[in-house]
Subunit: 416 residues, 2 copies
């Protein structure tokens, strides 16, 4: 058992931020036992760590990130999605055929996610199983929580980054068998998106999903082009989401849909029926994809929403950055599309970044009793002589902070 | 004379980035003499500084910033402009009546602008002359380039942050007389905006502008509310800009208009006729003001455009951040208002951040012969084993860099 003192802050819901100033958080077997204003008598012999005015917050969850694109962050941002994919992303991802190319990039990515307080992530690797396993093992070694996908692409893909359908399914099945354990890093099916996957592949993945009980992550209605192309290729489906429903890919585990900017009524139906998570990636959306997700409107329809960095369309780790970016984009959404767009506030955004995203992994992302103590200590936010409330410090960190403000990190209850 | 080696990059125009890889920049008496691929014979005895693969770029210009709001950065961002002004900004600015309150804030602001490579700035202080002089002297001591304004407010302002018209004009005239020298820090007239200034005050400032030959900075059509309110108060004017034209405030020095999001045809007429600079503050605009400036469209109309951080509506120093933010907003402008909005690219944005903004101060912001050598050395941008072109490194710095990537700073030809 351990006791941690500081200003403790976490989200109860999208409308409620719980703030315990100058309080004590008790951790037992790596899990939150409770939060106390004063140390209870029963804990008087428990070792204490005093973080002073440090802000103790849950670690962040990044529900959509391409670890393989870490190397290309902040390059080619003048291109729109298709040009960016063909000029930068696809050629770069093809190099992951070589594990020696992959290893240092995945190493740098994992170090950087930890440095920026992302301890739970839904991660796209590439089509290459060997390289994907390197990433998988690195995440396991660090004790992080993740869903990791070997990407599937067998159609309308450049020859240097394309599998046969058989190969794609076979390699995926081997990947699932290699990682059938019960650790905190798990495999997930990862068809890139409908335009680069044949029907046979997607339906084959659906069978694997059922056989192995694993979920799916993919890109859904991320652009008008993608939405239209998916329906052209799957004319028996009335929505992009329905492709995955019909293929049997939903309901076997988490279903993580990245972007979801242009959902139809049927996309909303599928997402609510199968408890999918729609991942809002505000910086990435703004960089290479036109349009803004209607966060509050989708939430009102009953859709689960989380945040993603979407590196390399996003340029940097740190889901706190995406909190600020999501608020900014919601203001523009309301300005331009008032019927669908309502502004979200910092309380809502921080909830998306922590508890909402964490739900995909288990009891992480909040400090209610029984939650895993995955936490960050945030400090050096205030100016000398100008004390700020915990909520103000949280807001400033999300808008103007960086990894230097994360002065301690706890993962599974242990300082790292 | 000095020679600097590195990858030298600067903007020639909004469409042309000049890149001199592995080259030498010669500085004579603090000014750029020329750029050479190899050291010319005549310079063979000149001392050299080798920055290796460091990117040597011009220092940035921030054409709109409230130094007095540095202390409130990243707080209260959930409020829209009017609420934010009345809840946070006006009460906070009122404390600058006390020079002891002002001193450490201005000190911290100036240190932070230097740390982030902003060496030229158009700065709002507050209505308080004594505190404004503290800021003025700090900028002078550091050798920076700035236009500094004692703010004027005598109307529709909270009682704790309001002057009489006589007091406002008298204090302003004393401020101008105190700073009549020819240094790189200069006074500028700073009526906050039309809704907080009486006609008598604005016309009085026009007379001072002509008498002392000083320019003006203010907020122009920054929100629909402000634009409408200005015309309600000045019914003889057909545009917000025309108020300043009629008052005689334009053409006496630089005319710096912040935001300019909702210009009418007459605003464009005034800005082009008087060579005004419209300052695009993308992050700030997104935080507390609805709407997006039509950068490319205004440029096509002949308007000069520069970038601003607009701290505290903006949250952080670093005009490189505003480069990325301006590109992102231009993409949304094009998406939502294709008739006025054309996407700008990194070449355009970097030009706004350096040469375009620098023109207000003199020959700063580029490396053509005769330009002052105000420069930054940018490094630690690349990942090991993955070399990037100079233009790629510049782009990544603007999107994902921070002050840690600025490893050397030269001001007026001297390392600081």
């Amino acid at each position: 058992m351990e006791l941690y003192h500081g200003d403790i802050v976490y989200s109860e819901s999208s409308e409620k931020l719980n703030v315990f100033e100058d309080s004590w958080l008790a951790v037992e077997d790596g899990k939150v036992e409770g939060i106390y204003k004063d140390v209870p008598e029963k804990f008087k012999n428990v070792p204490v760590t005093d973080h002073g005015r440090g802000l103790i917050i849950p670690a962040f969850s990044d529900l959509h990130v391409h670890a393989s694109q870490y190397i290309q962050r902040g390059i080619g941002m003048d291109l729109l999605l298709n040009d960016w994919l063909n000029t930068y992303t696809f050629p770069q991802e093809s190099h992951f055929a070589d594990p020696e190319y992959a290893e240092p990039i995945y190493e740098a990515y994992v170090d950087d996610m930890i440095r920026n307080g992302t301890f739970h992530a839904g991660i796209f690797a590439t089509i290459h199983r060997d390289a994907t396993n390197i990433l998988f093992r690195k995440l396991e070694e660090k004790g992080l929580w993740a869903y990791v996908g070997k990407v599937n692409m067998d159609f309308q893909s450049p020859s240097y980054l394309c599998e046969t359908t058989e190969e794609s399914l076979r390699e995926t099945e081997i990947f699932l068998e290699e990682h059938s354990g019960s650790g905190t890093v798990k495999p997930i099916l990862t068809p890139r998106f409908a335009p680069t996957c044949s029907r046979e592949l997607i339906w084959g993945l659906g069978k694997l999903g059922k056989k192995y009980g694993v979920g799916v992550q993919t890109h859904v209605v991320e652009s008008r082009w993608e939405a239209g192309e998916s329906l052209r290729l799957f004319p028996d489906c009335v929505s992009d989401s329905q492709i995955y429903e019909k293929a049997g890919l939903l309901g076997n585990g988490p279903s993580i849909f990245a972007h979801v900017i242009f959902p139809t009524e049927d996309d909303i139906r599928v997402m609510t029926e199968y408890d999918c998570v729609a991942v809002h990636c505000p910086e990435a959306t703004n960089n290479v994809i036109a349009g803004i997700m209607a966060v509050k409107w989708q939430q009102e329809q009953g859709v689960n929403i989380a945040l993603g960095s979407d590196i390399g369309a996003g340029v940097k780790n740190g889901i706190y950055r995406q909190c600020a970016a999501s608020i900014k984009l919601s203001k523009l959404k309301e300005f331009y599309e008032p019927e669908q767009g309502k502004t979200i506030d910092i309380t809502h955004a921080f909830y998306l970044a922590t508890k909402a995203g964490g739900q995909v992994f288990g009891k992480v992302g909040a400090f209610e009793p029984g939650y895993v103590f995955d936490a960050l200590v945030i400090d050096n936010i205030e100016d000398a002589g100008h004390p700020m409330t915990p909520a103000q410090r949280l807001e400033r960190f999300c808008y103007a902070g960086d990894d230097r403000n994360i002065i301690h990190r706890y993962l599974n209850g242990k300082k790292i």
